[in-house]
Symmetry: D2
């Protein structure tokens, strides 16, 4: 019996990647594709790269149809658009994996401040599971609503979790210099993402002011059992895909590289999608088109550098969403992701 899956928001980058991944999933049938479109369109005409691999209409939003024809729904919608839809789908006993930020922040007042909108289903937030398998696998198994983490978040939280969990670092001096490819900004053309503005260029943006900051701090604080504040500065790389975060921390005690790596090894040894590298930086070219997060650590006196690297559209979005689905439905966790 194949799981009937719907993708709402199929015409964005995350939707495209979900289709590409799920097409290779032996236990899933893509039952339905929807998006905010003026008229129905064959998805393989919209994404020409899908020619010959799928033949399916992407229709305008129609939740009744979603309820009738699918069991699990991926919401790949812009922030703010998922709240009501998730609510309705859950009422009809569907399972939902939401790739937006709408259910990620446990404190909805913080959500409302950063996203400048009222949160209409705060009660749902409580039962939402944060879809980071490396931290919450057991909760994901039983979840009905997954808040799938974003790309910066995954790279940073996976980079810091072992050291914070084991209380190895000063929580008051965490500096995160992140660099993202341009697909991280979505499919809508803007002056910022115009080719001549990116190519042969590089710059920081939203200095001390990126709305992903509170979500990252929330997750790190859960790990620390106390409040964590970070310095997080994103930059835009002239590449299509991939994120690399350079994370600077102060060690409480002197630890050499081997000792640090041992902590990471213990923490991630059973994880299929976290790889540790020694003596070399992770490289974006080695993780793009994969669900891997590559990590390496370096030490100088009591300063440590963690370099964390992943594909923003896979481990940072759609691949992780499928990993969550595999866990929820008791499929082999690597299915369609290997």
């Amino acid at each position: 019996m194949m799981l009937k899956v719907g993708i709402i928001g199929a015409t964005g980058y995350a939707g495209e990647e979900l289709i590409k991944i799920l097409l290779h999933h032996p236990q899933v049938k893509i039952a339905l594709l929807q998006a905010v479109v003026k008229e129905d369109i064959l998805i393989q005409d919209f994404f020409k790269g899908l020619q010959g691999k799928i033949n399916l209409l992407c229709t305008n939003l129609n939740l009744e149809q979603v309820i009738l024809e699918t069991d699990l729904i991926f919401l790949a919608l812009p922030h703010k658009a998922s709240m009501e839809i998730a609510h309705l789908l859950l009422k009809h006993k569907k399972k939902v994996i939401d790739l937006s930020a709408d259910f990620r922040l446990k404190d909805t007042s913080i959500y409302e401040e950063w996203y400048q909108t009222k949160h209409t289903c705060p009660q749902l937030v409580r039962e939402t599971v944060y879809g980071l398998p490396e931290l919450y696998r057991n909760f994901i198994k039983k979840a009905t609503l997954i808040a799938n983490p974003g790309c910066y978040h995954t790279s940073i939280i996976l980079g810091l979790a072992p050291l914070i969990k084991h209380q190895k670092i000063d929580l008051n001096n965490i500096i995160i210099d992140s660099k993202s490819g341009v697909t991280g900004a979505g499919r809508t053309p803007t002056h910022t993402t115009h080719f001549p503005n990116c190519s042969e260029n590089f710059f920081a943006y939203k200095m001390f002011n990126h709305r992903h900051t509170p979500e990252i701090e929330q997750e790190l604080s859960f790990l620390a059992f106390k409040e964590v504040n970070i310095t997080f500065i994103p930059h835009l790389l002239p590449i299509n895909r991939g994120i690399l975060s350079s994370i600077y921390v102060d060690l409480k005690d002197s630890l050499n590289q081997d000792q640090l790596l041992a902590i990471y090894h213990d923490f991630y040894q059973d994880e299929p999608f976290v790889r540790l590298l020694k003596d070399t930086s992770p490289q974006i070219k080695d993780v793009i088109y994969t669900n891997f997060c590559d990590l390496s650590v370096f030490v100088n006196n009591k300063k440590a550098l963690i370099v964390s690297c992943l594909d923003n559209l896979i481990k940072g979005a759609s691949g992780q969403a499928v990993q969550n689905m595999n866990i929820m439905f008791d499929f082999e966790e690597k299915l369609a992701l290997w």
Copy 2:
């Protein structure tokens, strides 16, 4: 006495380049910058790269002010927007260099067909000089209205002119495979020019259907004294600037590379901005940020390949416009362009 120059359309790529070039011109004062803007903006705040080099307000279109304060006006507006403005400025005895296509086609019915708009000043077209100095320098000297050629056109016409002029090639089998950087598509973001759609990508566009075709054919026909039809296919390169045209022709008589080069050498020997290369392809990196058009020729039996290469924003637009200005006002032709 400095020439007082106005730039209308100062917020586009051609406008930006005009400013950068004219800032270095010892006999020109940028008197005025205008564009279609909602509110006045300091041009150095709009183009941050101009910080410290200029301090000038770019205001909304105001032709009265243009008439009062300038002697020469560069129109760097989208196609169709220049007609009326040029007309008015000429009536007030101004000189105009128009970077759009509005006055390039001598047969306005062809213009009207390809640009889907009525031409409102056909009488002006007759007195317009096509601003390609290598062909029309003597006319440019006395011109009041210059139709500044586009980027594809310049690379192609300069590549073919010597062979057509000297009747060395079959006029029925000219194949032009052109490749342009993304600034050629202008500053307005579109799906086509969205970074992730260009980077690591390449494709043809407007196959047999690019509206620059009739303009190129017009100029080649003038050179040939008979009708020339070309096959012209543009492609989009994942680079910011530069055009390279690979032009395939059939020689009427056997000529070796040296003989061909001699024809080009004779034709261009006094031209400051045309360079001939031997035994090697021109490269875009060698012409960007310059007003040069680099050419090389290769032969195999009676097939010849001409490779022509220039910076679409300089020799293909603003640099050539300044070169035309230098000629019109009897300045040293290389001023500000060297």
Copy 3:
């Protein structure tokens, strides 16, 4: 029973892609990796992207071991290096897929002229099958030695085959303007492939003088049953992967786009890896990381343009090699390639 496969030349780009593809093949076991290396190296240390996916030593060339441990060998060696090795392996009843040019030219005197080396096994050339499944599937099934076509070749031959086979075009005026990504030049750093020489650059190379020309002409001549001479000019694109060929031909009779497409549709309708697009250019982004060759055709009077596009490392090398293996060993043709 798994097929035991060896890859000789495992440290090049084609070797890397072969490993990545074969890792997903359910009926193949990568039994052995060899290359010209000074000391044995774990392949996942050499290509970090393979970490966690394979654990296998790449050793120096050792044909005795190859003979003992494998049934099928992929030779991903530089031109000239395969001849003797293939010869020896075949004597030991192995099957060989050679990705070099060593066995592609039926007339070894042409090989010797272009590759400046003596061909040491001309007798083997006769029994070699040119590994282009769309043309030679039935021969590939029974082959013991496959000469796997190169990247330019595949894009061009697939683009022209239907029209030449059906005698629709003038064979004396075929102009091929090809553009390749930089991996086409191999893994060895050179001045040409140095990042600052490619990025924001573009140029033609080996004008009328590329050694792939005779191989393409050979295959087109077989299709035409008469000698075909082409004009073939390659260019270097500032991208990692992908080839796009713009092919200009003269139609013998007037055909519109639909009629042309119908010819292509008939020719390729059962082909899993050839896709036809209508009214739009193929794009490199839609074929990279796939085994597809995308084609489209355009007409203007009796000039036709065929645009052909593929991933130089997949359909242009390793993917096609695996496709050939699937055919030789009666596996499902799309296995590991879909």
Copy 4:
């Protein structure tokens, strides 16, 4: 009277930029070009972009000729190669601007440790002036030997100087995350700088281990009048030119952005080549091909971020060298650099 200038190391990137800049200098004559070359070569054949702009032979190293024909020599040689040459030229009363690291470190034992070579003229180091005009203009005026700072150094020292000079920051927690374009690695092709290894890629390198660290610490310590230790991690950007350094510091006292900017404004108000931006990150595209260093500052509580951006080949190498020359010879400081 024109200053007769020689460039030794003319075939590298810094040499190429020196030529391009000096060609526009009204008071300088490029008298001589030398490099380690097997045979003499016309420099415009070596760098095709110089065709039509210069006609000069680049010959093999020949110091006698240098002594006879030049007054000022730019040494654009690899590290370690300049020591003896500078020594000899100074003995002959020449003035020297050395772009290598050979004379930058005042403590030659540190030089010897990081560059793994004996320093042969430690006595010269003492009289060398560090060629950063913003800090040492008065010394540069009288210098005979300039140690021209490197690219990372300039971006970092200019970014930190005002805050260190005014004792506004904690000297024990300075974190510098720098990103450089590929020309920073020089003209020699390597696996690291091979196009397919850079494009669509990004990574850190020499983690806690870059040999520019001690030089930066030296200069910051001079400013602080006490020892400063930094965390400096360079990364490789997939672009040709440009460096952006993101510098994280702890403010001793609370300062808002305006107060911080005021400090920078005071410090740099008379500097022609330092630009301050407000509320926006500097962008590499705005500084390439210029001698500007663009700076901006941001604050959050007592954490400050300084973003510093320049062209590694101009303000980070050859432009700064010419700026130093202008100061030494009492030319207008902006000559040829504006």
